[in-house]
Symmetry: C2
Subunit: 473 residues, 2 copies
C-alpha cells in the first residue's frame, strides 16, 4: 500500500511537470486553429481539393508540456497524383511567408518556424482504413482517428507518463538517431495494456520475438506475422496489417526499455523520467577516466562536405560505425563499445573502445588433424606476425601472433585514405564527401572536447557507460 502510494506520488509529480497547463493548451490549440483555418482558406482559394488538419500528439491531446513540434497534414482528395505536391507546397510557402525550409523524407514537406512552434506541413492523400496507402504519410490521419476514437480522456495521462519515461531513458522517438518508440507506438501500448504501469509490467517480461497485434490481424497466424516482420519488436498497426509500428525500435532500445521497466517497478524514482543533467568531466577528470579504464578509445573525426537531413545523416553514420567496427574485429581487435556523435552539421565523431595489447593467443588445430596442422604451421612459420611458437600444448598447436595493425588507429586511417573507406563499407554519402578525417587516441581528443559542448556531455556519458537510472548498490 505504501509502495503503491510512493509510485503514485512519483507519477503525480511527473504529470505535474509534463501535463500541459490550461494556458499552454489554449495557446497551442489557438495557434493550430489559426494555422489550419488560414491554410484551408488559401488552399481553397488556390482551387486545391484538400484539407489542412492537425495530426500527431497535439491532435490526440497527448503532447508533453513544452513540446513545440506540430504536424499539419494537407490531406488531398485521392483523385490527385503526386504531381499536385509542388502546387500544394507553394501554397504552404506563401502562407508561412518566411522562415521555412523544404525537406524531403518519403516525399517533400515544409518545415517552418512560426510563433515559437516548429511546424511540419506534410501533403498526403486521403485513404480509407482498408485501402493501401500510397506512402507512409497517408496513414497518419488513420492513426489519429484510431487513437482519438479509443483513447479516453483519463488515459491520456498514461500516455504522457509512458512518453516521458521513454524520453528519460533515451528510448523516445522513431527517428534513426534514436531508434526508439514513436508517440503513436506509446499510445498503442497504453491502449493495449491499459495503463503506464501495466505497460511496464508487460515490458519487463518481454522475450525475444515479442508480438503485439491489438486488432488480431494475424490471429492464429503469428508465425506468418513473425516471418513478415523481422524487427526485434512487432506491433501490428491496427489500421494497416502490413505495417509494424515498432519497426524503428532497435534491439538495444527494446531491451533498454525492458530493463528500465524492471528497475522502475522494483525501485521507482523520478530520475527515470528526468535524468539529472550530465556534468561534463573537467579536463583533469577526463584524463583520469581515460587512463583508468584499461581500454583505448579511438576517436574517428569525420568532416563531411554535405548536409543531410538527420535521418539520412544518422543512417549513414551508423552504417559507417558498423562497417568500421567490423573492420577492426576482422583484424583481431576486441571492440568493447562504439558510439557516434554528430553536431548534425559537418562534424561527426565515431568512437571505438578497443582492448589494449598487441599480442593475441591463437589456438591451432589438434595435432592429429594432419592437413589443418600443416596449414597452420605453414601459415605461422612464414608469417612475420608470429611472436611466439607455434608450440604444442595438450593436443593442439598454439601460437602468439601480433596484430597486423599494432594500433587500431593506423588501420582506420589507412582504410579511410582509400576513397573514404568505401571499400570497407563506409556509405557513399560519407565516403565520397569526406573533406577531412583524423583518428585520435584517448586524450588526444582534448581539442574536440574543448570545442563542442555537446560532445563534452556525450563523451562523459559514454565514459560512464551506464544508464543513469541504473543506481549503484
Amino acid at each position: 500500500m505504501k509502495e503503491e502510494s510512493m509510485v503514485e506520488n512519483i507519477l503525480e509529480e511527473v504529470l505535474r511537470r509534463v501535463q500541459p497547463g490550461e494556458g499552454e493548451r489554449r495557446e497551442v490549440l489557438d495557434f493550430v486553429e489559426r494555422v489550419t483555418v488560414g491554410l484551408n482558406r488559401r488552399l481553397s482559394e488556390a482551387g486545391i481539393e484538400g484539407e489542412a488538419q492537425i495530426h500527431g500528439s497535439v491532435a490526440k491531446g497527448t503532447w508533453l508540456s513544452g513540446d513545440r513540434d506540430l504536424d499539419i497534414f494537407i490531406v488531398l482528395k485521392p483523385t490527385y497524383t503526386r504531381s499536385i505536391f509542388p502546387r500544394v507546397l507553394e501554397v504552404v510557402k506563401e502562407f508561412v511567408g518566411r522562415g521555412w525550409v523544404e525537406a524531403y523524407a518519403e516525399h517533400p514537406y515544409i518545415q517552418a518556424e512560426m510563433e515559437g512552434f516548429h511546424v511540419d506541413f506534410v501533403p498526403c492523400f486521403e485513404i480509407r482504413a482498408s485501402e493501401r496507402p500510397r506512402s507512409a504519410t497517408d496513414r497518419t490521419p488513420l492513426h489519429t482517428r484510431f487513437i482519438k476514437e479509443r483513447l479516453k480522456e483519463g488515459m491520456k495521462r498514461e500516455v504522457l507518463l509512458l512518453k516521458q519515461f521513454m524520453h528519460g531513458i533515451g528510448c523516445y522517438g522513431a527517428e534513426v538517431k534514436v531508434g526508439g518508440f514513436s508517440g503513436y507506438l506509446c499510445e498503442l501500448l497504453i491502449l493495449h495494456f491499459g495503463s503506464f504501469l501495466k505497460t511496464l509490467e508487460a515490458a519487463s517480461r518481454w522475450r525475444k520475438g515479442t508480438l503485439l497485434d491489438p486488432m488480431g490481424h494475424y490471429r492464429g497466424r503469428e508465425r506468418e506475422c513473425r516471418k513478415l516482420f523481422r524487427e526485434p519488436l512487432i506491433v501490428v498497426d491496427p489500421v494497416d496489417e502490413r505495417r509494424n509500428v515498432a519497426s524503428a525500435v532497435t534491439e538495444p532500445k527494446l531491451w533498454l526499455f525492458t530493463a528500465a521497466s524492471r528497475e522502475f517497478l522494483k525501485e521507482p524514482h523520478l530520475e527515470f523520467f528526468f535524468p539529472p543533467a550530465t556534468e561534463p568531466y573537467s579536463e583533469e577528470e577526463l584524463g583520469e577516466a581515460m587512463r583508468g579504464r584499461g581500454a583505448d578509445i579511438l576517436f574517428l573525426l569525420l568532416k563531411v562536405g554535405e548536409r543531410y537531413v538527420p535521418d539520412v545523416l544518422w543512417g549513414q553514420l551508423y552504417r559507417a560505425e558498423r562497417a568500421l567496427r567490423g573492420l577492426l574485429e576482422e583484424h583481431d581487435f576486441k571492440v568493447y563499445r562504439t558510439a557516434v556523435w554528430s553536431d548534425e552539421g559537418s562534424n561527426h565523431v565515431i568512437l571505438f573502445e578497443v582492448e589494449r595489447g598487441r599480442a593475441k593467443l591463437h589456438m591451432g588445430p589438434p595435432v592429429e588433424m594432419r592437413d589443418m596442422s600443416e596449414r597452420f604451421l605453414r601459415k605461422h612459420l612464414t608469417s612475420g606476425r608470429t611472436l611466439t611458437g607455434p608450440w604444442i600444448e595438450g593436443r593442439r598447436w598454439w601460437v602468439v601472433v601480433e596484430r597486423v595493425y599494432k594500433d587500431a588507429r593506423e588501420l582506420l586511417e589507412e582504410r579511410l585514405r582509400e576513397e573514404g573507406g568505401k571499400a570497407v563499407g563506409v556509405p557513399k554519402g560519407i565516403a565520397e564527401r569526406l573533406q577531412d578525417f583524423s583518428a585520435l587516441m584517448n586524450e588526444e581528443v582534448i581539442d574536440i572536447y574543448r570545442r563542442f559542448p555537446g560532445f563534452r556531455v556525450f563523451l562523459t556519458d559514454f565514459l560512464r557507460g551506464r544508464p543513469k537510472w541504473l543506481r549503484l548498490g
Copy 2:
C-alpha cells in the same frame, strides 16, 4: 629415388655418430662383465640367492654411443620378501666401496659412479611372464628377454635412430621431467612397425586414442583396453597386459613426436637428431625479446629446503605449475604458456606467460533472461571492479571489469604467502618446505639469468617458443 637416398644419407650420418664403436662396445661390455661377476661373487659369499644381471639398453645392445648409464639388477629368488633388500643393498655398497648414494623410487636402489659410468643397482624378484610382478622393477628382466629374443641384429640400428630422434626432439625418457618415450617403448615400436621410418610414418598418422597391442592381449576387446588405460598413448606391454608401456608419455610429448615425424618425412634433416645448441640471448637481446612479445612473463622463484629425487621433484613442480596456472586463469588472466626450470637442487622457477592488460570485457545475459540479468546487474553495480557499464548492446548486458589483481604477480605472491600456496594446490613437499620465494616480472629476472647458465639456455628456448626442428618457410 634421390630423396630416399637423401634420407638414407642422413640416417647413415646419425648412425655414424650414435652407434658405439668397437672400442666403446668392448669397454662397456668389459666393465659390465667385471661388475656382474664381481657382484655375483659377493652375493654368493653373503649367502644371498640372486644374480646380478645387466639390463636396460646395454643388455639389449641398443645403447647410444656415449651413454654411460647402466642398470644392474639383482634378481632375487621369488621366495624372498622385501625384507631381504637391506642385506642386498649392503652387499652392493661394500662392493662399490665409495661414490654411491641410496635412492628410493618404488623401492630402494643404489646409484654409483664407477669408472666413469653411472650405475643403478636395483634389487628385484624373479618372476615368470604369466606372474604378477610384486613391483614394476620385477618386470625389467622379462622386458630384456622379450627384446633380446626378437630384436634382430640388423634392427638395432633402427632402435638407435628412433632413440636419437626422440632425444633430439625432446621426447626421450619416461622420467617425470620429460614425460616421453622410454628406451623399451622405442624398442617395441621398432619391433611393431619394422623400422625407424615405418615408425615415423605410423606416428605421423596417429590420432587421439591410438592403441598398440603387439601381442594382441586385447584383441577384440579394444574398448575394454581403452577404458583400462586412460593415457594419451596406449602400448600394451607384451609381457604384462596390465601395463601400458607408454603410460609416462604426456599428451604434448605424444603430439610433438607425431608432428616431428610428419616434418621429418617431409623435409628430413640432421637437426631433428642433433638440434643445434642454444646460444643464449645476450642481456640486450633478452630485453628486446621480452619487450617485443606483447605478453608479460612472470617468474616465480621458489627456494625449497628439501632435496627430492628428480621424479618426485618434477612431479611436484609440475603439479605446482598446474595449480598456479589454474589460479591465474580463475582470476581472469589469460595464460599463454607455462614452463618449469629447476637446477634439481633447491632453486626452481615456474614461468607464466600472461596476457597484458587489466580490463576485461564480460558478456552478460540476454536482457530477456530476467533473473540472470538481475544477478548480473546487482553483481556489477555493487562491484568496485566495474570499469564501464553495465550497458546493453544487441540483446545483452555487457560490462568491462578490472581484474581483481591488477597484476598476476600480486596474486601469486599473496597466495604463496599463505602456507606456501597449499590451499590453491601447491604440493605439500614444496609448500611446507618453502624457504623463500619471489615473483619477478619480465626483465627483473636478470639476476637469475646471470646466475644460472642452464636457465639462460632454458629461457632463450622458451622465449623462442618453437621446436628447433620446425624450420621457417
